[in-house]
Amino acid sequence: MKTCPNGQELKFVLNNQVVELSASADKTLLQAVRELGLTGTKEGCASGDCGACTVMVGEQSGDEIRYHTINACIAPVEQQAGKHVVTVEGLQSGDVLHPAQREMVNCHGSQCGFCTPGFVMSLATLVEQGAPAEREEVLQGISGNLCRCTGYRPIVEAGLKALQAPFQQPIEGAGLLQSLESFEATSVLQPTTEPELQAAISQQSGAGLIAGGTDLMLEVTQRYQSMPTLIDVSNVESLKSVHEVDGSLVIGAAVPYTELETLFAARSEPFVSLLHRLGSRQIRNSGTLGGNLANGSPIADTPPVLIALDARIELVNTAGESRMLSVQDFYKGYRDTDLGGDEYVARIHIPVQSLDAFHRFYKSSKRLEDDISSVMGAFLFEGSANEITGARVAYGGMAATPVRLAAVEDALVGEKPDAGLIAEVVSMIASQMTPLTDVRASAEYRSAMAASMLERALLEFTGEDRPVITEVQLHA
């Protein structure tokens, strides 16, 4: 970790200028750019749900700068040290509009205009990434942007046209990135190795760990808590990498979901399909598996998946000692985990053979995209239509923690999954869990969905085609 003398300011490139400032850990990028007079980036919700604050962030990756979108409203400005932040004001080159801007104008893609800068940034990022001109790409790209006026049709059209436009000149200011000699942040500590991270945790007791911040920062923006210091795990190389070791896929806790989409593309279609419904593009660019586990939520999407896949969590303490435990053992109670005060979630180990086995993940929510699960069901079955030899059944949203249903698994293993057995285990669901009625769903509906998901998974396992119409269409 580069330690920094007191008073030194963090540096990053904002559009085509190097910006130096110092800020507390809880100051958001949105607040910072607006205070700098760049008011094109808007606050719509301050919770990462509406996308009006979307900006493009570029990071040096080898010889190139890779850009992605984030929600500036829940991103600490200090986390941007050494990065290239592009706001809507930075897209235009002289008088020439960026293709995303131009097509939004030509397609009548703005009405009240308040969400527009966010949409423009999401579409411009697709252009910069060289995304193919496909409807699905555009829909994924704007999945975290809400518009209340247009009904989206002209925005999707604008996105497709912008992606069809010929190559355009690079974003101004990108060249300045290499000129940043030092870019330390002062209030968000940025270790780059695990020993540095361990030292930071022991020295800054009480400082929170932040990766994507997509949940943690709501404490600041929604509950007005102050967080003078944070420890950023997203620069620790070993937490950002993925390896295959001894038959397990070992995923660093700070790998953003967007990278998992690529990682699992050839390994697990059900997981990739679920990832496409987890949060939005902006959230997936920041959020991580480690964060999804560590915050202890019973309605997180990935814990049931990891339980079904028999994944193990690797926790490391400040002495560098690591221990492994199963995902279900990690959860102690409502928002309570086994994570010690001197520990961090380091890696998630997924057995490759789980990915080779039959598995299905189903999510129930009011809205297809960017919604929190009312019920999340995850299933893994081994064997054949004649006999189930292994079963893992897990749910989220059904109890105070993610749960694994051993009784259902026991009832399945060693049996032939015929109509009678399926009916029998499906009828067990109601007695296994007592979910709550809340804003997302009633207890009755939750139980019915949990049963329906199990039935569907078993029918698919036995070869019956049960299409899921809410699955996001994946392009080849």
Binding site: T39, V105, S143, C149, T150, G151, Y152, Y224, R466
Partner: protein, 780 residues
């Protein structure tokens, strides 16, 4: 002078013919996409700016025993703290009746009601200080649901009735009778820009308020009233809103008033911007409704008598609920002729935030009853729901509405048949029936529903508008009017109207921010009336200037005024062509007045509230939509696979903007009826209180196939360039999706029954409807 491409020839933005009827881009489009469009919160902050937050009631109903704000006053950054007694003028900020207090007096009547307010050096400081208050509140019994309010006869305003003939006898004597009830939930506006106002003290002891409001004149009036000032000491200004949808008609005033009170007390500029979490709790929403209906009809499904009970959840005060429940009653027929009918509208009082205007203004709540009824009838008489709808439409000889106004322009029979043809309704119905016979888990649904929406404020006096037009000596023109821009493209259309009326290029026209010291005593930009009334006022002002310039040129060239023409920036007289700029210059030198006002009042409208009869609407705007859905019987989840819309905007002033209103209105209506579930707990707290748990549609919810066409027929009334209003009507096209979902649910019972299905039709509600259909099939 504004240029269409904002001076950037290289921007590649297409230029189009700048006249009424053309697809001009929104006047702010380039500013929107470059981030230069300025909203209230984007204005450079003046020195010493203070920020406001409020201390809120934790209970739905209670008596304030004591309010100890000592710690709040001492908190870091706090400059001023007020309670109701500190308001110098009248603390009541109700738009029509009384009861809406800027700060609670002795009692609180909803969770979130402001009890005190803090002005501090930052929003965070103000929010943190609010938590330090010690409130002692005696909790009182609260009425939280429509059923409780109906039971207790708790109403904010008296019940009204529309009555034609003897509906009860007609129903009792009919061969078929249907009776049903439905719960229809409200809707959160979720304008992307939350409520916000900035108040700047003036040297006269008054205030200049910059607000995100659909009703600057009301903001001005109420700010003056809470401060005890004359109205002329307050200026309200609105350049643009980041969305309004009715949510900034009456609700914006509280923020302006609060900021103004602090501005006058402290002598400092004050901004009150509600974070989303407060906005979703403290501002009114679309009303929940509980509808009950009973209808009698013949074996073809043609109605003989209809009784409807429409109960709206108004919340703790009247706000605009008089007109909102009226409009639910006005549209309880939607497009159908009720030969004998009784329609009762109840304005229920509950201890929840006072509900307010929302695109459609009650209309959607009446219409859903009519559309639900049509489907119920179709199942009963075993006919296609579209045929039953067509047979019940208004037509010559069956044209009198329950409120006495006659429908004069019968467009819907043709529109619905045309849409059925264009969208292959009957072929698809056959294909869907076949699909549903073979498919056990997945089923398809289809529905084609009409909208007939009355245009005019039902409060007759609001149907007036003013405009102020200036021509400057370089030939540039500025127009100001009483309407506000919330994204609908009003400013663009006004500029098109002025350019066309004057015969000059669109680029000459600048529409300036709406201000109460330019055009006074304006009506809210609401009831879809923005272009209708302000456009007419602008046109009248432009006609005055045109006449003055023509008369001046006629005199100069010694020709009759009728022989002077102005077109394409050229004035032609006696065979001579004079550039418009030159004519303006010489007119100025000859002391011709180059400024004019315009005024318009909508003709023909009148309504007697007590008898429930009159002619409340100048005309009706019409539309229809056909929606197809695919439903999963195992979960209730669904996709909207195809939507076709045909909509009547008369002669369009700007087809691109009109289509934008239709598409956006449809998706917003679909959201209300599908994923947007406004929920409260049993203590009166809104539990769908953030975008994390209140889900408006995303781009993924856009139908895979989505076609919108305009029904190109001039308005038969003399409206602005024979156009029709377009703001609200398309919202109710979303009913086609709700009906299609119910159609799919009905297919699980082979269409023998229509399962009850409350709105919104979340996957859970659809699942329940399917379960009920399956249970019916099992039992029969």
């Amino acid at each position: 002078m504004r240029k269409l491409t904002n001076g950037s020839a290289g921007s590649g933005v297409a230029s189009v013919d700048p006249v009424v009827g053309s697809d001009l881009i929104h006047e702010s489009a380039i500013k929107h996409v470059t981030g230069r469009a300025t909203y209230v919160d984007d204005m450079p902050e003046p020195a010493n700016l203070l920020h406001v937050a409020t201390g809120q009631s934790p209970v739905a109903h209670g008596r304030l025993r004591s309010v100890n704000l000592e710690a709040v006053r001492k908190a870091q950054g706090v400059v001023d703290v007020i309670v109701c007694d500190d308001i110098p003028g009248d603390p009541d900020i109700s738009p029509v009746y009384t009861g809406d207090q800027l700060l609670a007096g002795g009692f609180v009547e909803y969770v979130g009601q402001p009890i005190f307010a803090v002005a501090a050096t930052s929003l965070e400081a103000a929010k943190r200080a609010c938590r330090l208050a010690q409130l002692d509140i005696e909790e009182l019994p609260a009425i939280l649901t429509l059923q409780q309010a109906m039971q207790a006869s708790e109403f904010v305003l008296p019940t009204r009735t529309f009555k034609v003939g003897d509906a009860a006898s007609a129903i009792d004597g009919a061969p078929n009778v249907i009776e049903a009830e439905q719960t229809v939930r409200g809707q959160e506006h979720f304008y992307l820009e939350g409520q916000v106002s900035l108040a700047l003290p003036t040297e006269d002891g008054g205030v200049h308020v910059v607000s995100s409001s659909q009703h600057p004149s009301e903001v001005q009036k109420l700010v003056a009233s809470v401060l005890g000032l004359n109205i002329h000491q307050v200026q309200a200004e609105v350049r643009r809103m980041g969305g309004g949808f009715g949510g900034k008609e009456s609700q914006a005033a509280a923020l302006a008033c609060m900021a103004a009170v602090f501005a006058v007390r402290t002598g400092q500029p004050v901004k009150y911007r509600m974070p989303r979490q407060d906005d979703m709790v403290q501002t009114g929403k679309r009303h929940d409704f509980w509808n009950r209906y009973r209808a009698g009809f013949d074996d073809q499904g043609v109605l003989q008598g209809v009784e409807m009970e429409l109960a709206g959840l108004c919340g703790c005060t009247a706000d605009l609920s008089e007109g909102i429940v009226d409009r639910a009653m006005f549209h309880a027929d939607n497009a159908y002729y009720y030969p004998q009918t009784t329609i009762n509208g109840y304005r229920c009082k509950t201890h929840t935030v006072s509900n307010t205007a929302f695109r459609g203004f009650g209309g959607p709540k009446g219409m859903i009853a009519a559309e639900s009824l049509m489907d119920d009838i179709a199942r009963k008489v075993k006919r296609d729901p579209l045929d039953v709808r067509l047979d019940n439409l208004y037509g010559p000889g069956r044209d009198e509405t329950p409120y006495g106004q006659k429908v004069e322009q019968h467009l819907l029979p043709d529109m619905m048949r045309k849409l059925a043809d264009d969208a292959d309704y009957y072929e698809r119905r056959k294909a869907i029936s076949a699909y549903n016979r073979d498919s056990t888990v997945l089923k398809k649904g289809l529905a084609l529903t009409p909208v007939k929406f009355g245009i005019s404020f039902t409060a007759t006096h609001l149907n007036q508008a003013g405009a102020l037009l200036h021509v400057y000596t370089d030939g540039s023109i500025s127009i100001n009017h009483g309407g506000t821009e919330m994204g609908q493209g009003l400013y663009t259309k006004i500029a098109q109207i002025v350019a066309t009326t004057l015969g000059v290029s669109y680029e000459r026209i600048l529409v300036t921010a709406t201000r109460t010291d330019k055009v006074p005593n304006t009506s809210p930009t609401a009831a879809s009336s923005g272009t209708d009334i302000n456009g007419m006022a602008a046109k009248q002002a432009a006609e005055k200037i045109r006449l003055r310039l023509s008369s001046f040129v006629a005199e100069q060239h010694n020709v009759p005024v009728e022989e002077v023409s102005i077109a394409n920036d050229v004035v032609e007289a006696g065979g001579q062509q004079l550039p418009f700029d030159e004519v303006v210059k010489s007119a100025y030198m000859a002391r011709v007045q180059l400024s004019a006002t315009g005024f318009y009042k909508t003709p023909k409208v009148h309504f007697d509230k007590e008898s429930g009869k009159g002619h409340p609407f100048f005309y009706f705007a019409n539309g229809c939509a056909a929606a197809e859905v695919l439903v999963d019987g195992a979960t209730g989840e669904y996709r909207v696979s195809r939507v076709d819309i045909l909509h009547d905007v008369g002669s369009s002033i700007n087809p691109a903007l009109d289509i934008g209103q239709i598409e956006g209105g449809f998706i917003q209506g679909m959201g209300w009826l599908t994923t947007e579930e406004l929920l409260w707990d049993d203590r009166g707290r809104v539990i769908s209180n953030s975008p994390a748990n209140y889900k408006i549609p995303t781009a993924y919810d856009l139908p895979e196939q989505f076609t919108v066409s305009l029904y190109d027929q001039p308005n038969n009334e003399d409206t602005i360039y024979r156009s029709k209003a377009v703001g609200e009507p398309p919202l109710m096209l979303g009913l086609s999706v709700w009906c299609a979902l119910r159609d799919a649910a009905s297919s699980f019972a082979d269409y023998q029954v229509n399962p009850p299905m409350d709105a919104p039709a979340t996957p859970e509600q659809v699942f329940k409807a399917i379960q009920s259909a399956k249970a019916f099939r099992r039992s029969s």
